[in-house]
Point group: C2
Chain length 472, copies 2
């Protein structure tokens, strides 16, 4: 029995399409009602979470879509997963919901155990964690850690603050509030608050009208596909991009405390970097005395075939911080260097310091992922799916451009010639019962659950062919 | 039967003190273990949430403290409240935990109802809500709304972005990423991310080593107490502070999109502003074409005798946005003006757009607060407590300086002559079974639950007297 069958004996055998418009009439009505009190314009449809199961998301009209988007890459174990329902019903969870602690001041008798559960999934080399509430929050908390570390290194980690620092910071002025930067990449997505937003660089709509920090952007490689036919060119692209990073570190007018990067730029188009590129970045951060923060918000928790995507890269030393959210359901950053613990209490702090309810769920997710070896299973089904898509690509080259994600399990994407064609394709996929999402201007990305199996891949590929064949 | 007796038949009759050191030996051990994986330096003690009940928080050593701090003002209905346990066990909650939706793209069939429940507690004049995850997040989301509104007003709300805006924003440069400011106040606390941190101005430790936006700070009134003996001086103080705000609006080198203020500055020392001061601010924001954002993160949900503290102020028109978190357990902002809905979808957006699990709990909390008329009950017990503290003040004037919060229910604070005395007092209160918290440098603040009753007030006042009498 497959893991999916074990979890979801009642998962539909195939999509069910009941309406001819998407969203269907009941969803349209629901979206209109919701819009009176909450901005519902981005809604794809109204979801019936009670009826959704495993890899299938069901809408208010009874359409059951095979879901390869999974709440923007956030549902790892399928809808209504029984192991998670059990965790949700536990006394520990109920207390975490009802008696939400201020975790910094009043940790519970179970807090160490909850954190230790999260550490069972820690990337190699990381043995501590700090918790937040979303991917943007996780990244900004990591920025704070990086800035404290950078200044601590300059001043001496145990050197007290000067009177001038204590006074100037209250006016948001130097030296207490220094000019420091995070170096990120063009096409990056790291969240949409103000500091994380200043590192995000994928679409204007995320940022327009907001003040931003004047932080620099390097270039993320743009490879030619298929990779095995463009080895030399792509190698040069790595070298070009690494050189730019080196130059920015040397010449930027604001000192750079940390480099921030996604192992695969997801929102920005599923752009990949080679192992060599990432190895080069790790070495450049060491050379220039900056931290390396790897943003695994979308790539983490198994979807690329390893629990953490950067574990593919064979870095010379582990990254300094790894941020997480989405499929983890809880958010925060892992780290290992004791210098990244702030010099005194209360420098990295907030009322809640994370949400134990979401941390308990994260622990349950990690346990299931590890116990069932889901990253390896994702790798297997991903290879199967990738070959099928390669075959389709040979047949419909115009609609399967730059197929990417080979050897990254189900973390697969491809492009269309225009945004209009991509948008039409996404719409048409709904009509054959597939819920999927785009990225960047002309691409689609697959972000299925970790219990997406070969039978689902077959349904998905047949649906793609059905749609594309209608375009011929 | 009182509401507390109804909820908590097993609440202890009085504090139980079992150890002679605080934290006790079991807490000390737990803090040490936790510190291996998580920064536990700020921990007061290790809490046994299973044994905590109503107004009593129990630690790992079996000490049962009367809790007038309540998870930094975040537990409204007492520990292990049966009404909230019921909500936590509901199918709706379990689904929200297990199938956490990306609420913007995939709202559920129950989302409108969940939001409508939140709106039942909306401040007068507010009929829409946007949801986030913490107080800092709520404030920053409100800043984003304010900046979009401000630029929309200049450009025309339906005017498309120019090519120059779309290009410059990707470099974090003007005009796409404009220089705009939020005006906040000295001694304010609005959170500790980068933009919220730039508006926070209560303690250097919150901000040291972090880059900040160069946003201006006005002056929050510093009144002389007792208020009824210093009417004229305090009126002049209001006028002085309003004049400063007016001048900053007129002369600040960066345009100000919104004024952000706490109805009572809490972390910054429980500083109060008069109704006239807040009325003046509302009028100044209207005069200068800026929004007024009221940060009710700590003051909201009944603790000042009204559901929202600013409802005491009789403003000429409702504030433009009201942010919430803490006792609400969910976070976000209320608003009413349709111009504050961004011009297009996806401008105010994130993966999760809030947490329905926490929103369901917020709905249950609101329902209990309204049904049991808890703000009025808090007002009554607060008046009782305030009189008792006034009597103590007459006896121990040196240790009860500037007693404040009259007519603000249990939202009461006072000051000591030095920080050292304050710290010693807080420590000594533990030894007589009271868990309480400080604010600013020399003050203590009372933040009990909404089910804190006269019998608890008696215990608290007796404990204060026991400690203070030992100082004589």
């Amino acid at each position: 029995m497959s893991i999916c069958e074990k979890y979801f004996p009642n998962e539909p055998e195939k999509p069910v399409v009941k309406t001819s418009s998407f969203p269907g009439p009941a969803s349209q009505e629901g979206i209109k009602t919701l819009n009176k009190v909450f901005d519902s314009r981005p809604a794809y449809f109204i979801t019936d979470y009670e009826k959704s199961v495993g890899n299938y998301i069901v809408d208010a009209d009874g359409n059951a879509y095979l879901d390869v988007y999974a709440q923007i890459a956030s549902i790892g174990l399928g809808y209504n997963n029984p192991a998670l329902i059990e965790a949700a019903k536990s006394d520990k969870m109920i207390r975490a919901i009802v008696d939400r602690p201020a975790l910094g001041n009043f940790p519970g008798t179970d807090t160490a155990e909850i954190i230790e559960d999260l550490l069972k999934a820690a990337p190699k080399g990381q043995d501590k964690v700090w918790s937040g509430l979303s991917g943007a929050d996780a990244n900004e908390l990591a920025f704070k850690a990086a800035f404290m570390w950078y200044q601590g290194k300059k001043r001496g980690f145990n050197t007290p603050f000067t009177a001038e620092e204590n006074e100037s910071v209250m006016k948001n002025e130097q030296p207490g509030s220094p000019e420091l930067a995070i170096l990120s990449f063009k096409r990056a997505f790291h969240g949409r608050l103000f500091a994380s937003g200043s590192t995000t660089c994928s679409k204007p709509i995320h940022k327009l009208d907001f003040p931003a920090f004047k932080w620099p952007k390097a270039e993320y490689p743009s490879y030619k596909y298929p990779l095995d036919k463009h080895v030399e060119e792509n190698k040069k692209e790595d070298e070009r991009c690494l050189k730019i990073v080196d130059e920015i570190f040397s010449t930027n007018n604001i000192p750079i405390a940390a480099l921030l990067i996604e192992p695969i730029q997801s929102e920005g188009g599923d752009n990949h970097g080679s192992n060599e590129f990432f190895q080069g970045l790790r070495d450049l951060t060491l050379k220039h005395g900056a931290l390396m923060i790897v943003d695994e918000v979308q790539t983490g928790v198994g979807a690329t075939g390893k629990f953490w995507c950067h574990e593919h890269f064979n870095l010379s030393s582990p990254p300094d911080m790894v941020t997480f959210s989405k499929k983890f359901q809880s958010a925060g950053y892992y780290f290992h260097n004791p210098e990244i613990v702030p010099s005194t209490a209360y420098r990295q702090f907030s009322t809640w310091c994370g949400d134990p309810a979401r941390m308990i769920l994260a622990g349950a997710i990690c346990q299931e992922v590890i116990k069932n070896d889901l990253p390896a299973k994702a790798q297997k089904v991903g290879s199967y799916l990738f070959s099928k898509l390669e075959a389709l690509q040979a047949k419909y080259p115009k609609y399967l451009i730059d197929l990417r994600g080979k050897d990254r399990a189900t973390f697969i994407a491809w492009s269309f010639d225009t945004g209009a064609t991509r948008d039409q394709f996404l719409k048409d996929m709904k009509s054959v019962g597939i819920n999927m999402g785009g990225c960047a201007e002309t691409s689609v990305r697959l972000r299925p659950t970790l219990v997406f199996e070969e039978k689902h891949a077959d349904i998905f590929v047949a649906a793609v062919e059905q749609v594309l064949s209608s375009y011929k």
